[in-house]
Symmetry: none
Subunit: 198 residues, 4 copies
């Protein structure tokens, strides 16, 4: 990348960080371009030089988020022989991601059910697929290390996803309390690995 391209990329990421901060505190629709521009100390026009619109900001932010998540998963959950620890860490990383990106994740859900044909979504889909693939590899490794699951990888991932997203929603509607994160993670562990029935 040339210097120009690097600078541009740097600025995009910076705007993305600013936007993420806003998206974390209120739903997508309630964050205005004005607000992002102001918080990033840029003119609104400049935002449109960097991104084609509000949607693309969202896509950029969420893709970077998934990238980082994947990097962390790879580093911390793949290639270790301590499977229980890896799975525990897996839940933590996923939970933290969904908690931070909750508003964007939900916006994406709506988007997907509305404009099913969108070039933007494809970028997210690709990134998302990499995430899924990575999870599969982690589970596969767990199996080779002797862990036994009652479900196939597909189902396993769906269950994982559901449990975490569900807790994310619960967290959005309940006033945040102390140790909610720890409680949630414990509950998650119970749901997924231990089972609810004694």
């Amino acid at each position: 990348m040339s210097r120009k391209e690097l600078e541009r990329s740097f600025r995009k990421d910076f705007v993305g960080d600013v936007a993420l901060e806003l998206f974390s505190s209120k739903p997508f629709e309630r964050v205005s371009m004005d607000e992002i521009a102001q918080k990033a100390e840029l003119g609104k026009g400049t935002l449109y030089k960097l991104f084609s619109g509000k949607e693309e900001i969202m896509v950029h932010v969420i893709c970077r988020g998934i990238e980082n998540l994947c990097r962390d998963l790879e580093e911390q959950c793949l290639g270790t022989s301590d499977v229980p620890q890896a799975l525990k860490r897996l839940l933590e990383l996923e939970y933290d991601f969904y908690t931070k990106y909750s508003n964007l994740v939900l916006k994406l859900v709506f988007h997907q059910s509305d404009n099913s044909e969108s070039a933007f979504l494809d970028r997210v889909r690709v990134q998302h697929q990499q995430h899924i693939d990575l999870l599969e590899r982690i589970f596969e490794q767990a199996r080779t290390e002797g862990m036994q699951f009652r479900l196939d990888n597909q189902e396993l991932i769906q269950a994982l996803n559901a449990a975490i997203k569900g807790l994310m929603i619960n967290r959005m509607e309940q006033p945040i309390q102390d140790n909610s994160r720890e409680k949630d993670l414990e509950l998650l562990n119970t749901m997924l690995w231990t089972g609810l029935l004694a």
Copy 2:
């Protein structure tokens, strides 16, 4: 109720049904009052005679939904000694409710995190609490019938909620396929009652 009041109640429910149909197909914000009025073959003004605004329509619809859900739960899950069957039915009823009302449920999530002080929300909260109480009674009964849970009722309900809402989200972002409902219900059963690990 007088005839007038009955008629008014009917019309409100009718408009509610029409609105629910729209809310099922797109997010709350994308359904306009114009649209509801048109689909109900009413003038916009008439809607405002029946409801104080868009929010109240949502509240009416969702409260009726929870009412019906509670009635069904009471009839089909409470007071039977076939506990496994009751719990299975419980999941089905909850799943169907959340699938149908997904957009409204999510709208409510946002609402709750924004306008934390709203007379409307109180009505929903009351209704929601009844729902929670009913679930507690069902679990309590299950315990008296000999079923043993690893968690207390509070946690149990949170886990149930999370799992179902999570699947609801998954369903919203994936194109609907054949037997998705059956697959989801099976997965739900596994997650909650059987556990994922063999």
Copy 3:
């Protein structure tokens, strides 16, 4: 008048009284037909049987008000030889009228400057002219009793009008206090009869 006509006239006056009560507490535009109908315990349709619309209610109310004012003026200010007392009473009656009808008087002002062609306004104009004529007769009588004015009747009436309406406005914008009526009347006396300069 037949019995039917009498009843109708009675009801119109009743509705008028109800409406006046509302108009006394808020501006014309903020009083809705719904409100009047409800307070009069009549259906909205019935209102439209009695009056051709909201404007006509206003006209009816204000005309009756001027009629009553004229009757009182005639009884209490005309034909007495105690001129100072008559003029004092005159101010009181006018002041009380304008204070009670302030919102309607102002609405009429706007109406007059907008829709200069209106059959309704003619009725008010006629009534208003009778009021003016009566005032002229009172002043004329005062002159024959020896009172001397620096202005002709036209100007006198205009000054009287201005002073009272001005106080009416002041009263509308200031929070009501004790003896505001007495203070206003004293000020009015000073302005008009005594003069402000010592």
Copy 4:
């Protein structure tokens, strides 16, 4: 002020002038934002960039009006030893102000009696108080120059206000004629300084 701020201030004043023109010809409620935008050759949205809403336009316009009035009063009525001339000029300036801003003044009256708690009104109240203070200083000066009033400053100002506002109303309901201004001013002088009785 930076160039940007200056330009913005200019635009606000320009819009204010346009709005005042409209407010002078019809009551506040009958002037729509669309209308103002069209007359100012701006989009509706631009208006909302400059002002937070219709009310703020009114406040801006009226505050500027009072400011200008105060400036003129200070220049022309304060610090001259020709007291009669100063008082005459005072009446002229006040009369012209109230005649020009009549609709806004009346709108304010209603506003004050309705929404007694409004940040907007505070701005007007402050401005209005400065106006009152200035009038007091002028009357105080007149007294030091030997003029004697029958009333204290408070009452004097109330009387002045009443007389002018009253004439303002009269002028609003009567079709404008030649020399109405001169006649009104003469009447005002008579009412306030000379007295009506010979």
